[in-house]
Symmetry: C3
Subunit: 339 residues, 3 copies
């Protein structure tokens, strides 16, 4: 593909030879000859000298690279378009594999692609262009909108409702029982988990992540929210739209997450609390009380990240601090206590 | 269902109009008209005013609500009975799906329900009323008691022994190899994991959790213990009865957990140590030595939770503490050290 | 099996009656009569008195046990050989189960064993003696070397390349999409994940672990590296050879791990940093910057483990420290600040 054609597709201006042939895409950390890459982060500007690629997407204010370029406002976003040019989404044939077990009462929309060993339960309703990869199991009465994609071995339990353009990655589980028990005279009694899960439009759930159904009512994942691998969303959580939840994070029952929240990896949240809109929480933090909107938090328990960073830095100096206090006590003639 | 009928089922006394029709159940946080809910936690008592439900389960000492009520000793436990009245367990037909692959040497008990694409290996023995959902794989010589339920895609490796009324949620893995290696002259040598796993009666294992088999001997989960999603129980752990282990917690090899222990989410335990009966451990804690029975613990490493909370609160004040010591040093005329 | 025969197999010297019949293996913590066990750790030496086993593997310098023994340089390594004598690996018949769906363009090597409900995609190429257990899904163009073992429900996404003698445990996922998004004018835009994963020779991946494919380029797991259950390796990580990564650990995108690194359980690493050769990181640590080779680290953020242990121990004494500073302030006549 010629560079000028790429520029036309991404709405950018060619700088240098627009007739150069581009054969693919690569990253600026691992540049490949003949490919196109992009510069978005200033810290990579030093890599431009002698960069062995065919072309580069540059922001308007970057210094010229030694190779042909396309100037665009947002090189990262434009690069996504270019990646899709070279790697168009896989087309799945509109057919139902003979080994799939599809209930006669299920309704599949136009263009459905159902892979080997898939199971579609009674009264499931799917929109158009659903793609169910090998081994997917949809329990009865699951409903999903258009362009639903479930990778291999995804399981969706009964009655879960799914919007348009939702993607579930390999092994993700949606609608499993919440962890609810009551101590009783005959041991621990299970509380039936009779609520459900709603995944709104454009949600994506990572590999082997689990989203539990509510005990009563609904566990909800808001429009456009993306959830990474091995995340656990417990029963009754409500996650707002356009949030990002990184891998291995867990939300206990009834956590309320706002709009545009970002949770790092391995974060944990106690249940029945609220994480305000736009809050960002550092990886490995433990959230034990409400977090105000817009803040940046870290630590166990999670506090303002500046305070937490100072505290964490001080950890290294605790021996020093004890020594200094001991010395002051010696000077003051007070007996060191508990030392 | 009339309220008086519900009261009779849960052994409670009607307060107000017992003839009111109840159409379902709801939570006090999300009350639904016409449904019955319950009050167990005093902190919700303020929600009683104007509560838009059909009826409520109340403890003997609670103030009257503005709606018909049933008085019972333990409203939460009674509510579980009521939920089951409205949501009886799904009945599974006693049949083996034609796509299931069941070894001719396997013995399934009375009323077994075997779903599509299930695999039951040689010499598996199951008690009565087993329910194997779609895609379950039981390796050879697995034994389970009565009322064994395995949700979709559960895998149980060879020789695992399972008691009565055990439930394995979607994607749970029981009996996978432990993580055992010995450094040798030719790199890292795998130690064959030739032990097994025993799950005692009434155990429940969460979605995508993994319970490894012992290297030698047995990994054991005690009667009535409940384990949440994405938990990891390593080889040779022995978990006592009636314990609760929340999501994403991990126990390293050889951990011994007592009776009635409660571990919060994302707890980790070093191996070859003992967590005493009735101990409770806060979410995200890291257990690095034996914990005495009955205590409440928190932190990394886990210590008495009061001590840990004080320490965690002090983290926010470390800058202040350094400043105060510096000032004292100034007053005392000693040179600040390392500052 | 006679003890003298075992000694011959492991190249050790019999001490005592070599004609004793050994019926199996057991651990020194749970010794079984008639079996052989081993002593490698000095802390278990006290267990030798009255040890009710048939025989024991001892290091050259250990005191004699009261039972027949085999003297070897490395009893633990020799014990692995003995375990394999009593528990030879399961043989899998070289056959393709009739319910498996194998693409006509896939190439399976000599002796392939393909279980029920397996799916092998177009242009997959496997070496000799592949064993694919029930429900395994290999997407198109996966390539694996000789003696590839995939336990039940393993999924390998398209184009992943796998070396010789690789084992993937139940439910492991290799090649799932990385978690890559760019904020754009129309919400959060997914970055197509068009890279791949390479697993080198002798890699082992634990149950329900997930290894994401790179956005561009390659996620790589080096030769002989072993990864435990529920681990998350994000897109673009490069893990060196002969490393051990314990359960529930997560590496964010672009983490570079050296040779012979050991990461404890539930460790997290921020992305785009380097963990040096031979580094060891304590369980539950959070790595937020490069770690030098050969060091031992702990804490969140991970620092030298000695410093971290001192700091963690000091946490318990924070109340005391504040009290001591307050007392000094009283003596010095300065007003306590913020207290």
């Amino acid at each position: 593909m010629r560079l000028s054609d790429i520029a036309a597709r991404v709405g950018g201006a060619v700088e240098g030879d627009g007739s150069v042939e581009i054969t693919g895409v690569s990253s600026i950390e691992e540049p490949q000859p003949g490919t196109i890459t992009f510069l978005s982060d200033r810290k990579h500007a030093q890599r431009l000298a002698g960069l062995a690629v065919g072309a580069i997407l540059l922001p308007p204010d970057a210094a010229p690279a030694g190779v042909p370029a396309i100037r665009v406002t947002n090189p990262h976003l434009a690069f996504v378009d270019v990646v899709e040019l070279f790697h168009p989404p896989v087309e799945h044939p509109a057919e139902i594999h003979p080994t799939a077990v599809v209930s006669p009462t299920a309704k599949l929309g136009f263009g459905a692609s159902v892979g080997p060993h898939v199971v579609v339960g009674d009264d499931v309703v799917l929109g158009d262009h659903a793609v169910l990869h090998a081994g997917v199991v949809l329990y009865p009465r699951v409903r999903a909108g258009n362009r639903f994609t479930a990778y291999a071995r995804v399981v969706v339990r009964e009655d879960v409702q799914i919007g348009d353009r939702v993607t579930l990655h390999v092994g993700a589980v949606v609608g499993s029982d919440g962890f609810g028990y009551v101590p009783g005279p005959e041991g621990i009694r299970k509380v039936p988990q009779v609520g459900t899960v709603v995944l709104e439009d454009d949600v994506e759930i990572g590999a082997n992540a689990t989203i539990d159904r509510a005990a009563l009512g609904t566990t909800r994942i808001g429009r456009g929210t993306k959830i990474d691998n091995l995340v656990m969303i417990a029963h009754g959580c409500v996650v707002g739209p356009y949030s990002l939840i990184a891998a291995q994070t867990g939300l206990a029952g009834g956590t309320v997450v706002g709009t545009g929240v970002q949770l790092g990896g391995q974060v944990g949240s106690a249940g029945h609390l609220t994480i305000g809109d736009g809050a960002r929480v550092a990886a490995k933090s433990g959230i034990s009380s409400d977090l105000a909107p817009g803040g940046i938090y870290g630590g166990i328990p999670a506090i303002d990240i500046i305070l937490w960073r100072r505290g964490a830095a001080a950890i290294k100096r605790m021996s020093e601090l004890f020594r200094r206090v001991r010395r002051l006590e010696g000077r003051a003639g007070v007996e060191p206590e508990g030392d």
